[in-house]
Symmetry: C2
């Protein structure tokens, strides 16, 4: 690997977004500010961010009130009864929503002139229609968000104890247990999310009071945890403290983050029934060679590892992070980009253990995987990390939200079987409006609110465009306007205003086998260098660049060791993985009996409301009388069937029913 040196930030960042390295960081690429990338509603991401602002975020605000999260803080402030509601880490839902609101206020995702959000279902689940007036563009949600931020920051200040401690559960319900249950308490986990919200407040300049609250708590953490050898059962504080260091320049925060990493894997936690691997406490993170245990814990830990590595110039720690990321992506990641194969402990499985039906694939793990990839992209500049961001965002994360923006999956299976019976929230067959453990919805809200910050980066040579969406990007001396209907179409039209000797790097996704580029209408000689098409040179006031990424529908095959998908292919187009839904099959056909003719043509067809479906030829097996196991070669007959595959992220929006991503090939024995 290359060994980048601290270079300062060549991009004149104004409102820094998530995980923006500090001035002394050893990083290759530098984020643009949240205010320098304006999503204008073209393509999926802009529409989704608009829906996030208009639907998801207001929904989260309402649920924080109705589920008692805010009342818990009021109780801690002595302003309500001493009844604690919900999970003991419920404060973290408030913090993630705060963070979302802060990013959103700094760069509003809604705009009266933009087209409305995509609505690929007529009545998603038929429940909880969006409240009239809930689009902030129409109803003035900006002031409501503003008020939520101000009120909540003030509430937090009142709920904070004199010494800086802030945690409603351990203030209200178990005051004598503060710091005494590190393996399960989530106290540092909650503190981490508070700090991340405060970093958003500080970077956007929107709420200095929140920064003060978080720093008071962080200072207490430094005071206490610099003295004792303890770590938290749920990593999160590491990345948060590194971020707070980036915001404030206060070195003790970074030192404490590194201390937590150095103390981990030394058996300091008293493990419960899931053992030390669950908490990534079986081996020091620097020495770990495989991702393991609770996926969200593993990925948040990994985010902290990269942050500390970058800020301290710790090449060995960065290398350890890359090794773990490689292990995850090479052996334990779903084709949707999701992580986590096991329901029992919300955990990674053994290598290549990737069951589609029992995929846990927690939404928060997908978000965390996106965040880790972003950090590694900044650290290394390698396109594969951006590829992974694109994959998980457009499939696993996108599938977690309903078309109405107000229903969510916690686990994200790749196969919902015929005859599936819901066994509680963890394997719901449809998206639910909220969860008793509601970590995912506000996590989606904060990711999407900060999305503009993830589209592009800068370095000394120019601009790198990683994710494609309609946007206007101002990067120092250059301006790039992007028009596209990505990922439905692979055509990306850019209008560039830039100085000469400036390089525009356009990511050519790893799924793309052929592309072309026109500059001012002329075919440009172009070759991809390590995942990016790099156009250097003569720019002026308004140069037109048209990148055309070929995105024919294609078949994707699993590694031969992925037993759970043997003999199957997935259909994909561009960054989108597709799936079959029972909805598109004749009523008499059982989804599990469908076979795909892998030799037949695939066609991408424009439809409504789903913009592009893939059609294919297939068949329905007749399995009448087939025993569960047999020595005979069963001669199943099969009736031809025209198959319609829809984007995975849109599944379950047209009523509830079976779905599958991996399609058995007709020629499998």
């Amino acid at each position: 690997m290359s060994s980048p040196k601290p270079s300062g930030n060549p991009v004149a960042t104004r409102v820094a977004g998530p995980a923006t390295p500090g001035p002394g960081a050893v990083a290759t690429l530098h984020p643009l500010g949240l205010d320098q990338v304006r999503l204008d509603g073209g393509g999926l991401l802009g529409q989704w961010r608009r829906r996030n602002a208009g639907q998801t975020l207001p929904h989260c605000l309402a649920r924080l009130e109705s589920s008692g999260n805010l009342d818990n803080l009021r109780a801690a402030a002595g302003e309500a009864g001493k009844e604690f509601a919900g999970m003991w880490f419920a404060d973290s839902d408030v913090y993630k929503t705060l963070e979302a609101a802060l990013w959103e206020l700094a760069a509003p995702g809604s705009d009266p002139d933009m087209p409305g959000p995509a609505s690929p279902g007529t009545r998603p689940n038929g429940r909880e229609p969006a409240a009239p007036g809930s689009d902030p563009a129409v109803s003035g949600a900006g002031p409501r968000l503003r008020k939520f931020v101000d009120d909540t920051a003030a509430l937090l200040a009142r709920a904070q104890q004199a010494d800086g401690y802030l945690n409603s559960y351990f203030t209200v319900a178990e005051p004598d247990q503060r710091w005494r249950k590190p393996v399960w308490s989530h106290e540092l986990y909650c503190a981490g999310h508070l700090i991340q919200a405060a970093v958003a407040a500080g970077r956007t300049g929107a709420c200095p009071g929140l920064v003060e609250v978080a720093r008071r708590f962080a200072d207490l953490l430094v005071e206490r945890f610099s003295q004792v050898e303890e770590v938290c059962g749920h990593p999160e504080i590491e990345t948060a403290l590194a971020e707070l260091y980036r915001l404030t320049g206060h070195r003790p925060y970074l030192d404490l983050a590194r201390r937590f990493l150095d103390l981990r894997g030394r058996g300091l936690l008293e493990h419960g029934r899931f053992g030390p691997r669950y908490h990534q406490d079986h081996v020091p993170p620097r020495e770990a060679r495989e991702v393991t245990g609770h996926s969200v814990r593993q990925l948040y830990l990994l985010a902290g590892m990269v942050d500390v590595a970058v800020e301290t110039g710790d090449g060995a720690l960065l290398e350890a992070s890359r090794r773990l990321w490689d292990d995850a992506v090479r052996t334990r990641t779903y084709v949707t980009g999701a992580h986590g194969s096991r329901h029992r402990d919300e955990a990674y499985g053994d290598p290549y253990e990737l069951p589609p039906d029992r995929a846990y694939a927690e939404t928060c793990a997908s978000i965390a995987a996106f965040q880790v990839s972003w950090r590694l992209l900044l650290a290394t500049g390698e396109a594969r990390y951006a590829d992974e961001m694109e994959r998980v965002l457009h499939n696993a994360v996108a599938a977690a939200v309903s078309a109405d923006g107000r229903h969510f999956f916690y686990s994200n299976p790749l196969h919902l079987r015929t005859g599936h019976t819901n066994a509680g929230e963890e394997s719901a067959g449809h998206r639910l409006p909220w969860y008793s453990c509601a970590c995912c919805p506000p996590n989606i809200a904060r990711l999407m609110a900060s999305l503009p910050a993830y589209l592009a980066t800068g370095d000394a040579t120019g601009l790198q465009l990683h994710l494609y969406a309609g946007a206007t990007i101002e990067a120092g001396p250059a301006t790039v306007r992007v028009r596209t209907d990505y990922p439905w179409q692979g055509r990306v039209e850019l209008t560039v205003s830039a100085p000469e000797q400036w390089t525009l790097a356009l990511r050519v996704p790893s799924w793309c086998a052929s592309y072309s580029v026109l500059i001012d209408g002329e075919p440009a000689p172009a070759s991809v260098d390590a995942g990016y098409l790099r156009l250097t040179g003569a720019w002026g006031e308004s140069t037109s660049v048209v990148l055309d990424l070929g995105m024919p529908a294609r078949q994707v095959r699993p590694h031969p060791r992925v037993d759970a998908a043997r003999g199957c292919v997935a259909l994909a187009r561009g960054p989108l993985v597709y799936c079959l839904e029972q909805h598109d099959l004749p009523e008499s056909v059982v989804l599990e009996d469908v076979r795909l003719d892998t030799g037949g043509p695939l066609e991408a067809v424009s439809t409504h409301p789903i913009p592009i479906v893939i059609t294919a030829s297939g068949a329905a097996l007749d399995v009448t009388g087939t025993p569960l196991y047999t020595t005979d070669r069963h001669a199943s007959s099969a009736a031809p069937l025209r198959l319609i595959a829809v984007p995975y992220f849109l599944w379950g929006n047209r009523g509830q029913g079976p779905m599958r991503v991996w399609l058995p090939a007709a020629d499998t024995p």
Copy 2:
């Protein structure tokens, strides 16, 4: 279905074994007494029962002492401190071991003249070698067992409270919570196992004091639970009370068993995070159409349903039981006969959800499945139930015990992946000497101790032989001596002494495609009627019958809806499912890269210490450089490989390592 009428028991049973229907029962077949079938060590089952007596049962006795189960009862009797050790239902381990000891004492499984147990491994796991002198045949374990039974029965009498209540946890640890936590307390579950032990005591006549203890408790149950509408979160009491009714003829026990069935599925339990299906409390058992939830709970419930149906002549209840059994066997049973696809809640999955690597396949569920099949066999006389007994016993149950008889699996995967990391007891990669939840080892002990009772049945026409093992069977006027090396060989030699007009019915297993029979050396015209070869007529003092069940090695294919085994075959021979172990592969070959040439020949080869292995031709894929997902058709090269498959039940006895039952076919895309 047929509607059998009460016929009394035409078999002159002396020491009735488990689930022997009462005189008024509506059943088709009748068990022989435990003392009427003497396993003489020929074939697998006799050797296994001998090992059970010599190793497993003494091991259980020692562990009950060292794990604190007996001390818990001493504490309840006021004879030890008030520290409770282990799971709150730890009493049930004592009861199951008691039951095992009682069956064993009535018909000793060991015999100094018999050959020693099969030892297919040199040093299983290299741990806990069998203690010298632990074979009761050699060391006089009979008196030790006798003492254990007497001492424990006396201890139970002392631990029992004045009103009959008996449960060490709720006496010692939570005395104020008696009967107050029906969903999780396991009080009735423990009571059920006490009653089953007492039924063994009563039937064997070995320990009247234990019967008295159980009846005092049962009378308390009748008194209390006839008045309140409550059920237990863990079924077991239903079958136990029906059995106690059979022993005593005391009708209130049967009535209470039926009452518990009738009250179930009416929402009386306060469900925890796994919901009502986990406890089979989502629908009344009579109306249930699919097995669901915790597998052991479901199967114990099913056993109680059949018992009550048979004793009350309730055809509708029997029909409901058969429907549930059919659902389990048609859509949710592993090829090893095991039940339970999910680790999270130890539960059945959706239909056809049968992951080999994450098979939960709890040993207790396999034992319960055997018990349910036995009950349905008696009720209906249908061979398919005996087929299922054979399958689960020879594969799933047998695999749960090590060759040394002192190590056990709790969950029984059909695939242990390369790179598997143990995630606690529930997914151990090797057999452990004991478990914190030690329900399985004593359950094996009691099943094997009572095994002779399951081999054969009688009806008005004669004798039915269901399981094959070297044995001497005395059935009323007839005597049958069986010599066989089953399941290693399909030849079963019988010497029959019987009156004329007497029918010997020999089960021809469903896996058997061709067989022959000789009577006194002459080929006999024989045809199978509903799974049994029925030989009627001219018998005398010593008729020779030789049944030869063809058992070539064969390939077994899964139903096309079993996604987790697509493109794979399992190898089998006779009732035994085979598997590949890393142990038999070159070190450089990763198990998951092995492919089977399904067109190649299979050979059954005699070896030592494993009596019969199957050899096959295959190949090892070279997957170097293959990405996890790819659009390209990857042209893997493959190196030819001779494969050696060993009986699944013997896996993990030659050191720890990867194993798989389902073998990917070389011709799968």
